[in-house]
């Protein structure tokens, strides 16, 4: 198998099955199948686990770029879309569980929560911002949008910050876990800042070299 085939027939299906594993586990717990138990409050457990799984996939999506250059595996990029779509999928399930199982479709409470509870406001904003990214994740949309696709998908940085912040803000007291998420996100974003800076510096020095070159070439002639 060549690289394309390995990804198409082996790695992508594996990631797909792994991505569905949390959902399968929670479903078994919800219905008491195979001895899986979600404890005394299964609704909260499903809600929180879906939220955390969404964040996990979001961070994995953001880890693809550093991983491919640090490990020298450019082909990892082929997995990124699926990881991102899993993040979106679990955010949607997380929100649905909150609306249906937790609020029991109490729409006025939903409205009040989104308007009055800052952690829900930012979580909901992150969900809304993910929709255009999921909608433009196809090859066709990538082609059609060209450079604007890249610009649009930079929204993922904002979404990830909102998502981790949403997690941090809803915790009652023990913020250790959300802080771990925040730390990982900070590293992933820092990597990009450092890369962008060094790229900018490289470009600047290249420009300087280009403009200096004719000068240095002509200067000796004038003296």
């Amino acid at each position: 198998m060549n690289v394309t085939q390995r990804y198409r027939y082996l790695y992508k299906p594996l990631v797909f099955v792994a991505g569905l594993a949390p959902l399968a586990w929670l479903t078994c717990g919800a219905f008491g199948l195979f001895g899986v138990s979600l404890g005394a409050d299964p609704v909260k457990e499903i809600e929180h686990e879906c939220g955390k799984t969404a964040l996990n996939f979001l961070l994995l999506t953001l880890a693809v770029t550093p991983a491919k250059s640090l490990l020298g595996l450019p082909q990892l990029l082929r997995l990124r879309r699926m990881l991102g779509l899993f993040a979106f999928f679990y955010v949607v399930v997380h929100f649905s569980v909150y609306l249906i199982l937790d609020l029991e479709l109490n729409w006025s409470t939903l409205g009040a929560d989104i308007a009055k509870r800052p952690y829900i406001t930012i979580g909901f904003t992150a969900l809304l911002l993910l929709i255009p990214l999921a909608a433009t994740s196809t090859n066709g949309m990538m082609r059609r949008l060209g450079r604007r696709w890249t610009q649009l998908h930079r929204l993922v940085y904002v979404i990830a910050i909102l998502g981790v912040w949403h997690f941090y803000w809803q915790v009652k007291r023990d913020v250790r876990e959300p802080l771990i998420y925040a730390g990982i996100l900070a590293l992933l974003l820092l990597y990009r800042v450092v890369r962008a800076r060094s790229a900018a510096r490289a470009a600047a020095s290249a420009r300087a070299h280009l403009t200096a070159a004719p000068g240095s070439a002509t200067a000796p002639e004038r003296t």
């Binding site: 138990s37 404890g39 005394a40 199982l101 029991e104 009055k116 509870r117 007291r173 023990d174």
Partner: protein
Amino acid sequence: MATRVPRIAPSEITPPEVYFSRRALLAGALAAGVSTLARGAGSPPAGAAPLEYTANPRYSVSEAPNRYEEITTYNNFYEFGTDKEDPSENARNFQPRPWSVTIDGEAETRGTFTLEDLLKGQPLEERVYRFRCVEAWSLVVPWVGFPLSSLLARFKPTSRAKYVEFTTLYDPHRMPGQRSSVLAWPYVEGLRMDEAMHPLTLMVVGLYGRVLPNQDGAPLRLIVPWKYGFKGIKSIVRIRFSATQPHTTWSLAAPNEYGFYANVNPAVDHPRWSQATERRIGAPFLAARRPTLLFNGYADEVASLYQGMDLRRYF
């Protein structure tokens, strides 16, 4: 004598569809007035020592109590970890006996008393109370205990005693959660004297007719049913009569979120979430959310304690 609550294997936990149908059946039975059937809703492990007590229907709600498993695996007891399941696992080897409680402050009788001494001459009663957590979930719990007032009276508080302060055991070796600084240990709670002397305020030593399990605050805990659950301090080692309002742990940790009074009130939201409704643990999917009642449904008994007080300010 120590109480060990055996760990419940996942395979021993009734699948939701079975117990949901059982609860539906129970709800029907209750409606038909067969309230004693509710005991079937969850039974304590055979290892827990039975207590001698009488039921107190006057102070019991008619709602079906939660299953024993729910009350003993869904706990906020940060001394044993911050996850709900942590206390049931980390408190398994905790030895709540021998135990003693120090009484001090504004009282004629002060000193350190053994648990047996404190319980002497206190007839135990069972009261089925609503339990409302500040996190907007709730339980119905058959506690076994005695009125705090009859314990406090014994120490003859002086006229200067305006408040009662309670302190939890501080022992990071026995309470591993105290090794983390998630809260300022030891846990401290307090009541105004009239709240402490109210007949609903209960010193709890048992659950479901048996000795209180460790994760629920063994051997001695407080239950104030019209207040949020965090007021119900667990594993008490000190009771101090005070002229000034005690500095309570949660109100120190987040003063804008947790007040000294912490009365259940659907009209006063937590800054980060609504208190208008609550989810009843163990209730069927899509039928668990219910409106929260003022003073957790005990307004008739306790509203007069707060007459003229701005409950938004004194939250």
